[in-house]
Symmetry: C2
Subunit: 473 residues, 2 copies
């Protein structure tokens, strides 16, 4: 790095100074986040109105730019890291993962091939092999011993889309017309199933009925598959949700796998949220049969203390992936091309470039250790159960879906309006944030316990808000 007067870059001593300043700024943010209103009180366009219409011609002072974090950014933040954030699913983070992301950003390596990033590549496949064991997944998914293997992706949507595209590729290679292929998921599966299938070019996307627990009804799946076959269509891909987004319902992997096997379908397991819980053996019954799927995704960036983006995708047979995706132009050929110990991750997903995302995950798993990670997940499940008990014990409310992990779904027995106004009142507090949702015209409230800074007393405080604002029956 040049410190000469001619260098256009921030001088090294300024980098240190502003670096320290931003470490302090984040430390303050983590410490005081609870004093922030969770959702901002602004309207669309308010932030933009604070910004100039055109870029500055002249350099601005870095201190002034940093001041704009408080002046411009903060007034428009939805504070996902507020300990009262019970909405959606958590957006994982930890002090340690942030430090890992920082270092990775500075190294600015490009991990498209082993040869362009040997240690990022080997740390990635090592850490993903660790996770195979940590989550109790089939050891054949370890890249060091089995035909399978894991790769970091941006999001579960990317992973789902990838599995759909790979399945489509092999179906077409086998001689089927693209427009005859069918993808299946439950009507409660994540929107990324329909979106991914649409982007991957499926013309036939089936939303299969769910049972009373909101899990996929396997008879309905079998019937739909038969009907599609009778119409000359080709069942190609099916998803088992290991935890749906609305209610964390668990699709029955084992019988779905039987249907998939009978018809030669690619079977993808979407454990975006719930996968993190599988580090605790007591929850693994929720994904019974997982050894039968062809691919699996889960997001450490949801519930495993690692900041977005960090989604793991495993293929039970990595050659299926690589066969569909590998392209080797001259400028990417190198001496290690083809060496099985030198993984070229560019052949494992859509993008070519990739940053050193494994670093933060390596930091997180090592600095917490598996035991503390399990304790972290268990505490959330425990607190969710406590909240569920309170809700069930109160005549004003009822649970609307089985609680499988740390998501509680409930409603006011007085109906949709009272449920919606309860959610609105809780959210208007500014100290807690829940997601109002809907299944089959029934309004309910999702409470997802899992944010990094959430402690038991925050869940207690949420209950007090529910208790306070729940209309009498």
């Amino acid at each position: 790095m040049s410190d000469t007067e001619n260098s256009p870059h921030l001088p090294i001593e300024d980098f240190r100074e502003y670096g320290y300043q931003l470490v302090d700024w984040l430390a303050e943010y983590f410490t005081n986040i609870e004093s922030q209103r969770i959702l901002p009180e602004i309207s669309p366009g308010d932030i933009r109105a604070m910004l100039p219409d055109v870029a500055p011609e002249q350099a601005e002072d870095m201190g002034h730019i940093i001041d704009d974090l408080d002046r411009v950014v903060m007034p428009g933040m939805a504070h996902w890291q507020h300990p009262g954030w019970f909405a959606f699913f958590p957006s994982g983070v930890s002090p340690v993962s942030v430090l890992g992301e920082f270092v990775a950003a500075g190294l600015a390596t490009q991990g498209m091939m082993w040869s362009t990033a040997p240690s990022p590549t080997e740390i990635e496949n090592t850490v993903l092999d660790w996770l195979v064991d940590l989550l109790g997944l089939p050891s054949t998914w370890r890249i060091d011993t089995g035909p399978g293997g894991g790769v970091l992706q941006m999001s579960a949507s990317d992973s789902t889309h990838l599995s759909l595209a790979v399945a489509r590729h092999h179906a077409v290679e086998a001689g089927h017309a693209t427009d005859s292929l069918v993808a299946y998921g439950s009507e409660q599966a994540h929107s990324s199933i329909e979106k991914g299938a649409r982007i991957a070019g499926y013309r036939h996307i089936r939303s299969i009925r769910v049972d009373e627990s909101f899990a996929l009804d396997v008879d309905a799946l079998e019937n739909q598959v038969e009907a599609d076959l009778a119409s000359g269509l080709v069942p190609t891909w099916v998803c088992s949700a290991v935890g749906t987004t609305s209610t964390t319902a668990m699709d029955p992997i084992r019988p779905i796998a039987a249907v998939a096997k009978d018809h030669g379908m690619w079977h993808h397991a979407d454990a975006a949220y719930a996968g993190s819980a599988m580090i605790c053996p007591e929850f693994r019954n929720l994904q019974d049969g997982v050894e039968l799927v062809d691919s699996y995704t889960f997001n450490p960036h949801k519930w495993l203390l690692t900041n977005f983006d960090c989604s793991v995708f495993w293929a039970a047979d990595r050659s299926k992936l690589i066969d569909a995706l590998s392209i080797l132009p001259a400028y990417l050929k190198n001496e290690s091309s083809g060496d099985p110990a030198a993984i070229d991750y560019r052949d494992w997903h859509v993008p070519l470039g990739r940053r050193f995302r494994a670093l933060k995950l390596w930091f997180v798993i090592r600095s917490y250790g598996a035991e503390k990670l399990r304790d972290f997940v268990r505490s959330h499940v425990d607190w969710a159960k406590e909240l569920e008990d309170r809700i069930q014990a109160d005549g004003r409310f009822e649970v609307t879906a089985p609680r499988t992990l740390a998501l509680v779904c409930f409603r006011h027995v007085g109906g949709n309006d009272l449920t919606k106004s309860l959610a609105d009142a809780v959210n208007a507090s500014g100290t807690a944030y829940v997601t109002p949702s809907m299944i089959d015209e029934t309004q309910f409230i999702r409470v997802s316990v899992g944010s990094t800074w959430t402690e038991r007393h925050h869940v207690d405080a949420l209950w007090e808000l529910i208790d306070l604002h729940g209309a009498p029956v």
Copy 2:
């Protein structure tokens, strides 16, 4: 943030301490990177052999983990940020962008919708509007005034894939069979064209002949389109490379646009590398006709001082994008859904989740200012031209492709073996790294000037290596 003994997280004071330590570590890295050997002397598996096979059960000391940056990570690094890195295209970074990434990681917000991340969303669309003007692109691509708009993606591969999928979607909506669609790019187009088209489900992918400057031959394109039409196929998508990867050849956008218009094809411009240069008006003739394309991508993470990932994708008509991708489940409905001032970026690409990537880009553009950014690009083009002059003046070498920006392609006049051994000798120095490549059986050497810390004297030193190792004729 809890500092109680029960908290599983790194205590806030430790975060500060290790944060400062890593700021210092990166400052040292930036300062001393030139003393590192560019490519590591290791074999596949060497890094992995230093790591345990299973994750630790107990927490490890953070200080020890940080020490492993030097013990484990560094020995396996290809130092993309070494000032002697002339390989591939540059991997952009700057001290300022790294600080932006750090803050974004700590905020750990999820920008899937305006309502979940108002300031990240509005800063993103503001900064991308700035870039429309900075690059001299059509003002109708500004989200605030036109039908177009920009969105940050991970990589140009993602952007290219996206445009292919959107074009396919609309072609199928218009009644065409998926298997009849055809995508076109030059035989010198980036591998992401073929890969993206394959992933998007195109069965017919045409590599069009190039002219002597390695730019797409429009007559050949027209002929292929006619032949495909005669075969009952449907020309659907065509790419103009604004700078091919091998040689930064410039496809002629304007006549390609005429072909695209005649046949109703989606016309995508891939300016992954060269887009950054368009901040300098004197280079814009290289993308004459850009106002006619349907989508455009460029990577600030290549040549605009912003660390990966940060790729911009513009659509000339954003409704084409949103129509193809929008899906709105109940748990994502909110009061601002549908408000045109509240952009929901999840409808603009494959993933749902997204981090606050615009922050680092905002930091970079403001802290450098447009003038310094132009100077930065111009300096690289000047140094590349100086190198080209030296090569042309030396009877041992010849330039193998027109230099359009800061990439110089040359060979030893004595043939492939002497060219390859020259590249090997330069790379064996450990102080400079170039890419040996090949077109039509002709070996050549790519020298890409553009790394953040590269100065003129590094290009001089590269010439000395070439001069030293170039065999006499």
